[in-house]
């Protein structure tokens, strides 16, 4: 009985008693959801363009952040380190295309997925072999202090992160809409065969899309690195992005954003108001359960393409 009361009544009583706190949690959740979206975006880009579920996105986040922080530690200012890191990600993308994707073209998706798990291990090892496992501090001057807006308090860092994510999505939208490469990418996403038949070189496209995903990973890595310091744990943020991905659908950029917001808000609200009833620390699985429950009703995710089965 107590248990039911704690689940069904107490949380709502808590929300009713302090609605401004609920709003605060909700905003905090939405803003941390944005941080998940940043990571999820990289997954979506690659899946859209090449049908590959790139498990190595988390490793790419760490890899990019390690290089960026490493260059900055070497005394290179951020405006120098940034293009250098982008260059590294470009080389990496071309390498992956040449060594992993090209030999595995036309293999089942599941094989490619497993190959990206291999890539992920390789990058984790390579990045740390080059830069070491010590924590690197990434200070890019983002404020950390709380800001009070009436009774509601939000964190300045989260706001900055949201702005960065918003600009990134806007930049991606412009890139896809107005550049020749962007249009080619969309063509590939819609239909590989058709894209090939009008003379778009698939290899180039793949290298570009992996680079773009690498850059998105870099942005995510810098934001997360500024928050936590650049270290091995950064690779684990990918695990937080996966439920976002299933919720939003693998092929939809708006899905990644909306999915991130739902997961972020959902898990924070659940952790703050419901976790006490069942022991706390539920964030890890709550996002997955939320996504799973959701999948049972919409197997293709929120914005994913509908699956029509044929024989």
């Amino acid at each position: 009985m107590d248990f039911l009361y704690n689940i069904l009544v107490a949380p709502f009583a808590m929300i009713g008693a302090a609605p401004s706190f609920f709003v605060e949690v909700l905003i905090g959740g939405l803003l941390s959801g944005v941080m998940y979206s940043l990571v999820a975006l990289g997954f979506v880009l690659i899946f859209k363009a090449s049908g590959v579920f790139n498990f190595a996105q988390g490793a790419m986040v760490l890899f990019a952040a390690l290089f960026f922080a490493g260059f900055m530690d070497k005394g290179i200012p951020w405006y120098g380190a940034l293009p250098l890191t982008v260059l590294v990600m470009l080389v990496l993308a071309m390498g992956i295309e040449r060594v992993v994707l090209r030999p595995l073209v036309n293999q089942p998706h599941i094989i490619l997925f497993m190959a990206t798990i291999g890539v992920s291990y390789f990058l984790d090892g390579l990045g740390q072999t080059i830069w070491g496992s010590e924590m690197r501090v990434l200070n890019i001057g983002i404020p950390q202090n709380p800001i009070n807006m009436g009774p509601i308090q939000v964190n300045a860092f989260d706001i900055v992160a949201a702005v960065v994510a918003g600009s990134l999505v806007a930049a991606l939208a412009l890139f896809f809409q107005y550049t020749r490469i962007g249009r080619a990418l969309r063509a590939v996403a819609d239909d590989h065969q058709a894209a090939l038949s009008v003379g778009i070189p698939l290899k180039t496209i793949w290298a570009i899309v992996w680079t773009v995903a690498g850059v998105v990973g870099l942005v995510a890595g810098v934001m997360w690195g500024a928050k936590l310091g650049v270290q091995f744990s950064l690779a684990m943020v990918a695990l937080k992005a996966l439920p976002v991905l299933i919720l939003g659908g693998f092929t939809s950029i708006p899905g990644a954003i909306v999915g991130g917001l739902i997961i972020g808000a959902g898990e924070k609200v659940a952790e703050v108001f419901w976790a006490d009833a069942i022991g706390g620390g539920i964030e890890d699985w709550f996002a997955y359960m939320l996504a799973l429950a959701f999948l049972l009703f919409r197997p293709q995710g929120l914005f994913g393409d509908k699956i029509i089965e044929r024989v």
């Binding site: 595995l104 798990i117 984790d124 072999t129 496992s133 695990l239 706390g280 890890d284 197997p299």
Partner: protein, 369 residues
């Protein structure tokens, strides 16, 4: 020269359907068993037993389990660690259950270890069926991500509910000392590695035989049919729900036993974190490298993944190189990753397929045609 099947004719379907239709294979198999049961315990030292052979055997069970689900039935799962944890904690609860107290006997009484392991398997199978339910609607990557829900939830559960650890403050469980036969201790710190090894080996042989048998019966064929083309399988009359859930059940049964063996026969004490997502990936690598949909491959993969780190740590030292441990660990990551990509490109069917090709060549050797 020696590996010829010419002249071996089968007069009955039973003879044709046995596991090793070729006589030389049978001989090799029985020799291997004899070596494993008799020679290895005599030759291997304690380090070999305790840190190479026992984890190898445990991981073989786990990769058999995952191979049933992923390799044969085609359902990609990243929840192996969670299921192994279930097995470990179920075994702990079962082995510390005082039957005597429950039924009002004067003397404390405990379940025999064999039943503890079986029970752990059965409980895990039930949990596996529960988490296999979504597979009826969700496929492919979506399912893989969904099984992560099982992984995280189960670990959280065992970490959070003190009942599972008998209210231990630290959340760590350790194997109580129990006997297999009167006088032969099988778990706890006083158990001899050779006893553990022989018990585990018998378990592995039985489980592998069971898996092999199922794969040549109708259930095995139903799994492979679902894997190869689920829609066609359903249209020829295979019930997807029952078949997939059976795969989850049997796979989890194996994983549960593996988890119990990990906690009871290998480390001796575990906390839920020992079965983190890393373990799920490790088992997945084993079946990829060993060979998806191959019993033999489960063993080859487990051997490969268990031996590789040992090799990487000991190898350079033997050659007189003193590579710092952190570099070795990083190299290990890189080599793991590179090997996985390498195997997928060169031979998507893994070591088991290479073995098969080797045998086919051997049949013809020394004449190439």
């Amino acid at each position: 020269m020696f590996y010829r099947e010419a002249g071996q004719f089968k007069a009955s379907y039973a003879a044709d359907q046995q596991i090793f239709p070729i006589r030389q294979d049978r001989i090799a198999y029985y020799t291997l068993l004899a070596v494993a049961f008799a020679a290895v315990p005599m030759v291997a030292n304690e380090y070999w037993m305790a840190t190479i052979l026992i984890p190898f055997l445990v991981m073989s069970i786990a990769s058999l389990g995952l191979n049933i689900l992923t390799g044969y039935a085609g359902q990609l799962s990243l929840g192996t660690g969670g299921f192994m944890a279930t097995g470990a904690f179920a075994a702990y609860k079962l082995s510390t259950w005082d039957i005597g107290a429950t039924f009002g006997l004067a003397e404390p009484m405990h379940l025999h270890m064999v039943f503890v392991f079986l029970g752990a398997g059965v409980i895990t199978a039930a949990v596996g069926v529960l988490f296999g339910m979504p597979s009826l609607r969700i496929k492919g990557f979506y399912l893989a991500v969904a099984t992560l829900a099982a992984q995280f939830f189960l670990l959280w559960l065992f970490n959070k509910v003190p009942w599972f650890t008998n209210y231990s403050t630290s959340g760590v469980i350790s194997a109580p000392p129990r006997e297999l036969f009167p006088g032969v201790v099988i778990t706890g710190p006083m158990a001899h590695p050779v006893t553990k090894y022989l018990f585990l080996l018998s378990l592995v042989v039985l489980l592998a035989l069971g898996a092999k048998n199922i794969m040549r019966c109708h259930l095995g064929r139903a799994w492979m049919a679902i894997r190869d083309m689920d829609i066609a399988a359903e249209i020829i009359g295979i019930r997807p729900m029952r078949t997939k859930l059976a795969a989850f059940a049997l796979s989890s049964f194996y994983c549960g036993i593996a988890g119990a063996a990990w906690a009871f026969l290998y480390t001796g004490s575990v906390e839920p974190l020992a079965f983190s997502i890393e373990v799920s990936f490790k088992v997945l690598f084993m079946i990829i490298i060993g060979g998806l949909g191959s019993i033999m491959g489960s063993f080859l993969g487990a051997a490969f993944i268990t031996l590789l780190p040992v090799l990487l740590t000991n190898g350079p030292r033997l050659l007189g190189l003193n590579i710092p441990v952190d570099i070795i660990s990083h190299l290990e990551f890189m080599i793991f990753g590179a090997l996985i990509i390498f195997f997928l490109i060169v031979e998507p069917h893994g070591l088991a397929r290479l073995w098969q090709i080797a045998k086919e060549k051997l049949r013809l050797w020394p004449f190439p045609y």
